[in-house]
Each structure stands twice: as structure tokens, then as C-alpha cells.
């Protein structure tokens, strides 16, 4: 069957990257992009940073000129309400249906919600409307309680401090940043926040929230003018689930984004997929470049040539003037090799039991760590088994190891 009509649900990093890649690879059929948010598609990472601190508009992902030039039928501000798999069409919330030969679901994720007395007072941050609402509360001198010491919570903490708020972070686990960030770096990041005056309560559970603050299980009281939660996200699978597609901690897809329906694909934060470097179990990545990379990669598959996703996952998190960057998946490491970087924390290389490099992580000014993380990414992609003593020796440029790998 020839593929003449492609519909994409969701105009985030994934949906917009797929749109561009489809046109770039010569697809000249009908291309509809359904954007439930109704904003000009924008870069979500700015929401916890410049959108708050500088009251800036987030950078645009797909501007009007590109939409016109690439003949994209943008449905703006009207969510998709249902997928009719038998009729191969997507019904919009206001009634009309759009037919497809191939459908891409790129609906992203939504914040996990607190369920406790007073939870209705809590702010969450996922979209531009959320950021605008939070911005009005981050006034100098305001006391802000942030529930969750994950990436979003910490980025919010840094932005709120920059705006002159008093900030307390409340984390249920014994340490901030959970499994995806090595303990050594989490400690350096916490120290950075404390140096800026952020207070932390770890191993702390919240009992209730009211207009003046929140009470912990141990009866401690934390006064707050506003409470913002960043306690993780859940993949947005409502449409896929209602249509009967297989789910597995996200829309279940194979390495080339195929769902359990051969005409429907899913990519980005909404899906879970296996990755050649990290075993056979499905994983979720929840990061911006991965989302865009999956969107660009799925274009080939949508056009009929199944292309497995194999880019190394990587993310950054900017806090103050520093950045955390992690390439690969630290969870798959069995041992850690440290390399001094001249910043507050060493770069950490995670090696699997057989010595294969599976992740590299660092926290510091981007200019001090960015290049070596780029090189590590390539070593990870090449399944390199670098000698630990080479990784540990900052006088030995990583680039040399890369040459060795490529030649081997």
C-alpha cells in the first residue's frame, strides 16, 4: 500500500522532529500534526529555566514559515480524542476525523500527581501554561516548597533562587536525584544548591498541604507561599490504551517504534522501547534529545523502511551556571571510574561487568565537561571497552581512545 497520509499526534520535540524528517526525506503526501496545546510548538526544557528567570518565551520548534513551506496541516489547540483503528482515522475533540495510512503517537508524558490532603493547591510543570502560572508565584521573598528532588525540582529550585525566593526541597528518598544520577554527582549538585541557600529535607514524606505550607509525616512544618511538585512523569497513553494498543510502562513498541498495530507507531516520552546497547527490556528515556532523535528516526519507519533506534541516550540539566550531562545509562554499570575534570566533581565512567562503557556523567560548567561527554557518547555507541587507567588519567585525551576504537 502506498503511504499518502500521515498523521502525527503531539507537537513536542518528537512530533516536530518527525514532521521535519518526513519532509526532508521526500514524503510529499498529506501530513497532519495535531497539537493539543495550541501554542506555537516550543522547546519544553526552557520552561524550568529562562521562561521563569527571564520571563522569556521558549524557543520555537516549528515556526509559521516552516509550517507553510513544508505544507504541514497543523491542527492547533484541538486534542485528538480517539483513534479508530478499523477505519484508520483520528477523531478530533471538536468532532472531525482525519484519515491516515500511518499514524505516529507522540503524546509525551504528564506529571505524576500527589494524592494527599491539600493536593489541589499544588503546581506542576509540564507546559507553557504551567510555567506562566508558576512564574507569577516566584516573586522575590516568596517561600517556595518544591516536592521532589529530581531534575525538574532542582531546576525549579535554581530558578526560584535566582528570582530571590526562599526555597525548600522535600525528597521522599534518602538522597536527591534517584537511580538515574550517580550518588557522587547528586552530592555535588546538592552541595551546589545548599551553597545558594536551598534547604533540603530528605527521607521526608508529606502528610498534608494547606494555604500556609505543608506538614511532614514526622510533624515538622514547612511554611510555603506556593508548593510545586516534580515527582516524575507518567507516559501519556490514554489514546493508545483506549484504542487497545499494547502498553508496557508506556506505549509498547519494538526498536523501530512499531506498536501492536502495524499502521501505528509511537515515539518519544510516551513510548517504551528496547535499545541495542541496553538489553532487551523496554526502557523510557524522558529526555529532550532522545525525543528529537526518536522523532527523526521514526520517519524512515513511517515511510516503510523499519529503522531501529540506536542513538546513545543523552541529557543535560542546567542548574545555576552549571550543567549535569549524562550519556548512556548509568544503571547498567557495574563499576565506576573517576576522571578529574577541574570542576567540583569528577567525570564518572560506568563500565559494565565485562568492561564495556555504558555511561558517562559529569556536573560542571558546560565548557569544562561537554566535549568529553560528546566523545564518551561515541565510545558508548562503539561498544568500546576502554582501559580504566586511560579513562582515569586526565592527561590522556579521550579523543585518542576514540581513534583506537574506530581503528579496531
Amino acid at each position: 500500500m502506498s503511504i499518502r497520509r500521515i498523521v502525527i499526534i503531539g507537537a513536542g520535540a518528537t512530533g516536530t522532529a518527525a514532521t521535519r524528517a518526513l519532509r526532508a526525506s521526500g514524503f510529499d503526501g498529506a501530513l497532519a500534526l495535531i497539537d493539543g496545546e495550541g501554542e506555537t510548538p516550543y522547546e519544553r526544557p526552557a520552561l524550568s529555566k529562562s521562561v521563569l528567570t527571564d520571563a522569556a518565551d521558549p524557543p520555537v520548534l516549528l515556526d509559521a514559515a516552516t509550517i507553510a513551506r513544508e505544507a504541514i496541516d497543523l491542527v492547533s489547540g484541538i486534542p485528538a480524542a480517539a483513534i479508530d483503528r478499523a477505519a484508520r482515522c483520528v477523531t478530533l475533540a471538536n468532532g472531525p476525523a482525519i484519515s491516515y495510512d500511518r499514524l505516529l503517537i507522540a503524546t509525551g508524558a504528564t506529571p505524576r500527581r500527589l494524592t494527599l490532603p491539600g493536593a489541589e493547591r499544588v503546581y506542576y510543570l509540564r507546559n507553557l501554561a504551567d510555567a506562566r502560572a508558576i512564574r507569577t508565584r516566584l516573586v522575590p521573598g516568596a517561600a517556595i516548597a518544591i516536592v521532589g528532588g529530581g531534575l525538574i525540582g532542582l531546576e525549579l529550585a535554581a530558578s526560584a533562587r535566582r528570582l530571590g525566593c526562599a526555597v525548600t526541597v522535600i525528597e521522599a528518598a534518602p538522597r536527591i536525584l534517584g537511580r538515574a544520577v550517580p550518588a557522587r554527582l547528586a552530592a555535588a549538585i546538592e552541595a551546589r544548591h545548599r551553597a545558594s541557600g536551598v534547604a533540603f529535607h530528605t527521607s521526608a514524606t508529606i502528610a498534608s498541604i494547606d494555604g500556609a505550607g505543608l506538614r511532614l509525616d514526622n510533624d515538622a512544618w514547612i511554611g510555603a507561599d506556593a508548593v510545586i511538585a516534580g515527582i516524575g512523569v507518567v507516559p501519556e497513553t490514554a489514546l493508545a490504551g483506549a484504542a487497545g494498543l499494547a502498553l508496557d510502562n508506556g506505549i509498547a513498541v519494538d526498536a523501530a517504534f512499531a506498536t501492536s498495530d502495524s499502521a501505528i507507531f509511537a515515539a518519544g516520552d510516551c513510548c517504551a522501547l528496547p535499545h541495542r546497547l541496553f538489553g532487551t527490556a523496554r526502557l523510557r528515556f524522558e529526555s529532550w534529545r532522545v525525543a528529537g532523535d526518536t522523532g527523526a528516526c521514526v520517519a524512515a519507519t513511517l515511510l516503510g523502511v523499519a529503522r531501529p533506534f540506536d542513538a546513545v541516550p543523552w541529557f543535560w540539566s542546567d542548574q545555576y551556571d552549571e550543567t549535569l550531562q549524562i550519556a548512556g545509562m548509568p544503571q547498567f554499570g557495574a563499576r565506576i571510574v573517576e576522571r578529574a575534570t577541574g570542576t567540583a566533581a569528577p567525570m564518572l565512567f560506568h563500565l559494565a561487568a565485562d568492561g564495556r562503557l555504558v555511561a558517562a556523567a559529569a556536573f560542571g560548567p558546560a565548557g569544562a565537561i561537554g566535549r568529553d561527554i560528546r566523545i564518551a557518547e561515541r565510545l558508548i555507541a562503539a561498544c568500546a571497552h576502554p582501559a580504566p587507567e586511560d579513562l582515569a588519567d586526565p592527561s590522556r585525551p579521550l579523543k585518542v581512545l576514540l581513534r583506537g576504537t574506530v581503528a579496531a
Partner: protein, 112 residues
């Protein structure tokens, strides 16, 4: 060292010794309040672009050069160093480029 090319307004400004820049390498060069990135490719071509990423103004000379693509150290935006074209999100605004020549074992950048 400043010299004028015949019939043009280009000023050739001294950057560094030719061998101070290795093949497949990039350096930062500051001149009169502006910052540039000057590159030498693995096949020995020299070129120059604006020094700051068009996304959030970090020094591209701290980035990773592979072939003719420089990757920004901060968010991995990518640029073609020969044309300045933005080649990878989140970078979407092109960089300006500048002529570079090597004379008497010195690297010179053409400005103005």
C-alpha cells in the same frame, strides 16, 4: 599584524601560529570585543565562525569537532563550520562565517 587586501575592505587579523592549531581542532579567538571559533579540519582546511552558539551563547571552541560539524558543549546543537548552517536541534539559527588564510606560517582571519 593587520594588512589590507587589494581592493577589499577585509582586514586580515593574526590569530595564531599555523602549527598551534592541530588538524581536527578548534580554538577560541577574541578580537575587539567579539569572539570567534577558528577551525582546522582533519584534511587541513582552515575556517572560522562566530565563537558563541546561537542557542545560548556558550563558546563553541569548547565543543567537539567531527569532520566539518562542531557540536555545542551545552545542549549538543550542531553547526557546519564551513557554511555556519545550523545542523541539529536545539540550534536553529546559523552562525556567521569568516574567511581564513594561512600566510607565513600564521593563521589569519578576515574581518570587516
Amino acid at each position: 599584524m593587520i594588512s589590507k587586501e587589494n581592493d577589499t575592505m577585509t582586514q586580515w587579523i593574526d590569530v595564531c601560529a599555523a602549527d598551534a592549531l592541530e588538524p581536527d581542532d578548534v580554538i577560541r579567538f577574541d578580537h575587539e570585543g567579539q569572539t570567534f571559533a577558528v577551525y582546522r579540519t582533519s584534511d587541513d582546511a582552515y575556517c572560522a565562525t562566530d565563537g558563541l552558539c546561537t542557542h545560548e551563547q556558550v563558546h563553541l571552541a569548547d565543543g567537539y569537532l567531527e569532520g566539518r560539524i562542531i557540536e555545542c558543549p551545552k545542549h549538543n546543537g550542531r553547526f557546519d563550520i564551513m557554511t555556519g548552517a545550523a545542523k541539529g536541534a536545539p540550534a536553529c539559527i546559523d552562525l556567521a562565517t569568516y574567511p581564513v588564510k594561512v600566510a607565513d606560517e600564521r593563521v589569519l582571519i578576515g574581518l570587516g
